[in-house]
Structure formats: structure tokens, C-alpha cells
Point group: C2
Chain length 186, copies 2
């Protein structure tokens, strides 16, 4: 069985006007995705941002629940966050996983829309792959208005989008992570 990792990328992403920005980490991205990752057996959840101010703020939130008052107030929350890490870049995530698992991870991005430049894996094929032995899998989710893929050559594959029965297709990243993890590991 392969190890599964989740990364939430805050740079480089687009804003509404197709400018390249560093998006802000939201509190619910920390908690909801940590809880879903823990529930579905993800090894580590990486919050990826180069912004040092964000590291300080998000670090305070995590340590509140890990070591501060929150750690005794709500132990389930403490458990949820014990595998969550703040990290500067996608390259740093890859280096860390490589050190831990002795194998370079396969980096797979998710997207609400298909991009013909990539090979799109189906959810069911990735679910089967996860049951086999081999390189660890790193699922990367974008924030803002999507990842700047041209600047992310580490990403080799895409995972098929999530569709409902409607034309509306604007799930929050928290919903998307939850649905993908459930579909892959539930």
C-alpha cells in the first residue's frame, strides 16, 4: 500500500484577474482538511506557502491546538493537527517525503477543469494504484483561482474533476479534498 500525502498550495496561484499571487491561508483550510486527512489515513497534510507572516499566524493556530489551551480543550483537534505541517514550497514537500519514504513521490494535481496538456487519472484507477506498492502519492490542491501549472513542472498527472448532475462546478477546496479523499480511501 502506498503512502498518501496532501498539499494545499498558496503560491503560485492565480487571483480573480489572472495575476500570480500568494493566497492567504484560511482557518477552515487548516482544520477541515486536517480532520479529513486524519479520517482518511493521509500521512501528512502540508500547507504550502512561502509567506513568512502566514507561517507565523498559521503556526500560532496549530500550536494553540497542539500545545496550548486547545490541546486539552479538544483532544480530537489536537490529533487532527499532529500530521499537519507548514512548509515553504512544493519542492520542500517533495524533499521531505523523499527523505521519509526513500522514494520520490508521484505528484498529482486536482482541478475543477480538464487540462489537455496532462494525462488525467480516474479516481478509480488511482484508488487501485494506492493499494499497490510503489512511490508515495502527493495530491496537490490549489487555492485562489487555481494553480499556475506552467510554473510547477513537478506536477506530472492530473486527477479527473469531480462532477455533479448540474453545470455548476464551484466546490470549495475543503469540499473537493473531502470528496477526493473519501473516494480514494473511504
Amino acid at each position: 500500500m502506498r503512502n498518501l500525502y496532501v498539499g494545499l498550495l498558496h503560491f503560485p496561484v492565480y487571483n480573480k484577474n489572472q495575476q500570480i499571487i500568494t493566497s492567504a491561508v484560511t482557518n477552515f483550510d487548516i482544520h477541515d482538511i486536517s480532520r479529513a486527512s486524519k479520517t482518511f489515513g493521509v500521512e501528512n497534510y502540508f500547507i504550502i506557502t512561502p509567506n513568512k507572516g502566514q507561517h507565523r499566524v498559521v503556526g500560532q493556530v496549530i500550536s494553540h491546538w497542539q500545545e496550548g489551551f486547545g490541546s486539552t480543550y479538544n483532544t480530537d483537534r489536537k490529533t487532527a493537527l499532529d500530521s499537519t505541517f507548514l512548509i515553504d514550497s512544493l519542492d520542500d514537500v517533495i524533499t521531505l517525503i523523499k527523505e521519509k519514504d526513500k522514494k520520490e513521490p508521484l505528484v498529482i494535481a486536482t482541478s475543477a477543469n480538464k487540462d489537455d496538456k496532462y494525462h488525467h487519472l480516474t479516481i478509480s484507477s488511482l484508488k487501485e494504484t494506492l493499494k499497490t506498492d510503489g512511490e508515495p502519492i502527493l495530491l496537490v490542491f490549489g487555492t485562489g483561482y487555481g494553480m499556475v501549472l506552467e510554473q510547477l513542472p513537478q506536477i506530472k498527472y492530473m486527477l479527473e474533476p469531480i462532477y455533479g448532475p448540474t453545470d455548476y462546478n464551484h466546490l470549495s477546496v475543503r469540499s473537493a479534498v473531502s470528496i477526493y479523499l473519501y473516494s480514494l480511501k473511504g
Copy 2:
């Protein structure tokens, strides 16, 4: 095909100390669940709270995106919220659906744990039921530390919990709604 509705109940629910309270509506509960409901073809999403102060605050958020600056700034958000309603009680939700669909809805609660006092439907059986004709289905999600079921005789069935491969089972309500809707309508 049956109509599907979602309700997010803020009273009566338990707090951490098993006291019966009215929980606060969070901003992410408004947006994430509206977006997931719209994506998966839910007729209406009802935010259920008797607290008038909450109606005022949440009403302002919704109208910002429906009619205010937000409605032109982000039209996807406007669409997401056009089927979201604030309402006082579960009885009011049932009355409203009955008026609209001319049939009393089947009220089904979700829970992270099985409760032997209820018949638990599997996700796959409810998915099939939704494809048949018949009463509309109202899925009710609790907030805080769970619904006070003894005070909610309107709830006739429970939906099976969501399980991952771990013992940890503390998804956010936003994750749980997203996973259930995807499993039922995705």
C-alpha cells in the same frame, strides 16, 4: 426522481458538555455547503436557527452576495446562494417543502455514530431511492456536538456514517455534507 433538500440544524444541539444550546452559524457553513448543494443538484439548502440575531447577521452575508457588491464581484457565489434560506425550525422547513412539492418530505439525519434506536439507510440504497418517484428527501445535518434527537421526532431515519480506514472519525460538517452529496448525486 425525488427532490433532495439539505438542512443544517443549529438548535437543538449539544455543546461539548452535553448541554442543549443554539450553535452559531459560521461563514464557511453558509458558503461551502451552498456551493456543494448547488454542484450536486440540491433543491434548497436551509440554515436552521431560531436565533434572530443570527438571522440578521447571516441574512446580511447572503444579501451581500445576492444583491450587494458581491453579486457583481463574484457571480458564481451569487448562483451558489440563490437556493439557500434561513429558517427558524425543522418544522418550518417541512411545511415549506410540503407546500412546494405537495408531499411531506422524508426526514433523514446523518451522524458520525450509529444510533440503534433508528433504522440506518445505506448510502447506496438512498442513492437508488433518489432515482425513484416519491416523497422528497430532506437530509438534516447537526452542528455543535450533535443533534438532540429526542427532541426531533420529525427524524425517521438515519444515514450510515462515513468511515475512513482509520479510527479517527471527526469530519467537519462541511466535509460530511460534501461527501454525502457526492456519494448520493455525484
